[in-house]
């Protein structure tokens, strides 16, 4: 399982209120949530994001509310992976549960720049910045987590056995 795309870069403590503002939480529609993803921190995100793109951010990504709408909005917008030094714990759990790949890697998060082309090998945890040629190593997901992500989330993985 791999990810490959261009990087959208953000700072520390990106909270779930800016990932998906509460004014849009009156729906559970993935498409509607994706249409407002990152709106309060980056109005251009939804216009610029392409299928497979990657978010690289600072520490404590996804802090704040437990809204699962936040990783849902990111995933539904086309993002294939989020890389940060640390994630807020509820966001971390939610991301895996809905099948959004997220990797903790302080070195990659510090060095990879917005617009860089990046690929991720989830089997090995190797992150490659194709633009600079540098590689980084994150802790790879164990097989059962990879299975959840491949099946599109925890309950999908249970249903499909």
């Amino acid at each position: 399982m791999n990810a490959h795309g261009f990087v959208h870069r953000y700072g520390d403590n990106v909270d779930t209120d800016v990932i998906i503002p509460a004014r849009y939480l009156n729906t559970a529609s993935h498409e509607e949530l994706a249409a407002h993803c990152m709106e309060d921190i980056d109005k251009e995100f939804v216009h610029n994001v392409k299928q497979g793109d990657i978010i690289v951010a600072g520490k404590n990504f996804g802090c704040g509310s437990s809204r699962e709408h936040a990783p849902i909005a990111i995933k539904a917008s086309g993002i294939s992976c989020v890389i940060a030094p640390t994630f807020a714990r509820i966001f971390y759990r939610n991301s895996i549960n809905i099948g959004l790949a997220i990797l903790e890697c302080p070195e990659a998060a510090a060095e990879i720049q917005g617009g860089d082309e990046v690929s991720v090998d989830f089997d090995t945890g190797v992150i490659t910045d194709v633009t600079t040629g540098k590689t980084y190593k994150a802790q790879p997901f164990p097989p059962f987590i990879q299975n959840i992500i491949e099946k599109g989330g925890l309950l999908n993985s249970l249903k499909q056995g």
């Binding site: 403590n13 729906t27 309060d40 802090c63």
Partner: protein, 420 residues
């Protein structure tokens, strides 16, 4: 090595004698909670995987508190979906408009959570119940769905930060100032993946409302949970209230902590968190001149009876400043009625404030007090992120009910001591 309070509760719910930090366990759940925003997503997941029953209809709480009374058609549809689910599975603790209160004030008030419980809730402020000596933590909707089906979930056993409280709070200083001070000290990720375990001789001086407020904002330091020891204050609060027998856990003397923080309550000052992070704290003496447009007193953090009494003590015989909207929201129907009977509502309305029905509304920019461009609010709520209460260019200053009420009177962020 001994165990912390949190570790003991988790071990007991996993059927283990001992757990270590970092260990992955599967724990039985005493309660699974959701609200009108998170439950629809959970119900979709529940139905997607073909579930046709819940593990225990008395151990699920569905609370329609965020966008209620329905703020728009979409919110109404989300509530309908939860209402249908609650009816289909005959959920005992389903709270709809008329009975509903803000979940984290309502469930303790109704005795639905008791000491020693292991609780998950699809709301990040589920950590509030740590005030009762329960392990409780926020999760997402998928975990809520799985919890409703199986009555258990997996946890990574957290290590803990010990927060030792000494002394007694001065006048006009409250639990809110304790937790804002702590977040200012350790930062919004200072307790990431960890427990905050409160202890020390200062605990006994804190009321249950103060403890609920402190535990409520543990998540704002990134913590998995915040927890208080069970003492006479807890048991007095629970008398004729707790619906199940409490189980009291105490930390071992040789429990290990990753770090220690000590707070002398006597020395604390009213504390304000400036935009746009709860860690941007200043004491009231360092605030300077900050003009405001709105005050909100309420929420799962500060919408309890003591909070309203404090606000009333300040607003009695005074007026809300021209150009300021002061919105006061009791967290539950019981608090609403008590405020009526104690004459607090007369005080609020005579002062020029509005007194509304229970709702989370303005805290998350939902309804009942959304901010416009460039507007500033002093709020007793829990988050001041960009756009949290409305327009992306609005600002939220987090403070106690005392500071919020004093600020409503002057139109500037104000030390309650300095009111005429």
């Amino acid at each position: 090595m001994g165990m912390t309070m949190t570790q003991k509760i988790l071990a007991a719910h996993a059927g283990l004698d001992h757990v270590e930090p970092g260990q992955l366990i599967e724990a039985k759940l005493d309660l699974v909670l959701g609200n009108d925003i998170t439950s629809p997503v959970a119900i979709n997941e529940f139905e997607k995987c073909g579930a046709d029953s819940v593990f225990d209809k008395s151990r699920i709480a569905l609370v329609l508190d965020h966008f209620t009374p329905n703020k728009d058609i979409k919110a109404a549809e989300q509530c309908r979906q939860v209402r249908r689910f609650a009816s289909k599975y005959d959920i005992d603790n389903f709270f709809d408009v008329g009975r509903v209160g803000i979940e984290h004030a309502l469930l303790p008030e109704q005795g639905i959570v008791v000491p020693g419980d292991c609780v998950i809730g699809a709301d990040s402020h589920t950590c509030t119940y740590g005030a009762l000596g329960a392990f409780s933590t926020g999760v997402g909707s998928t975990d809520m769905a799985a919890g409703m089906i199986a009555g258990k979930t997996w946890f990574k056993v957290p290590q803990a930060i010990r927060v030792t409280l000494h002394g007694k709070l001065p006048k006009w200083v409250s639990g809110k100032d304790v937790i804002l001070h702590l977040i200012g000290e350790i930062g919004v990720d200072g307790a990431l993946y960890e427990s905050l375990e409160f202890t020390g001789d200062g605990v006994k001086s804190l009321s249950m409302d103060d403890r609920l407020c402190i535990a409520n904002m543990a998540i704002e330091a990134g913590a998995k949970n915040g927890i208080f020891p069970v003492d006479e204050v807890t048991l007095a609060y629970g008398k004729d209230r707790f619906r199940r027998e409490p189980v009291i856990y105490t930390a071992d003397d040789d429990a290990a902590y990753v770090s220690e923080v000590t707070i002398n309550l006597d020395e604390l000052r009213p504390t304000v968190a400036f935009p746009h992070l709860p860690e941007n704290t200043r004491t009231i003496d360092e605030v300077g001149e900050v003009k405001i447009d709105q005050v909100v007193i309420g929420s799962c953090t500060n919408g309890r009876m003591e909070d309203l009494r404090t606000a009333a003590e300040i607003l009695k015989g005074r007026k809300v400043a021209d150009g300021v909207r002061c919105i006061i929201i009791p967290a539950t129907q019981k608090i609403y009625l008590d405020a009526v009977h104690e004459g607090l509502v007369d005080i609020f309305i005579n002062a020029g404030a509005i007194f509304s029905m229970p709702t989370c509304g303005p805290c998350l920019g939902g309804h009942m007090g959304v901010l416009g461009k460039g507007e500033r609010a002093v709020s007793t709520t829990n988050r001041n992120f960009v756009g949290r209460m409305g327009h992306v260019e609005s600002e939220v200053y987090l403070a106690s009910p005392a500071v919020a009420a004093a600020s409503a009177v002057t139109g500037f962020i104000t030390d309650p001591e300095k009111l005429d």
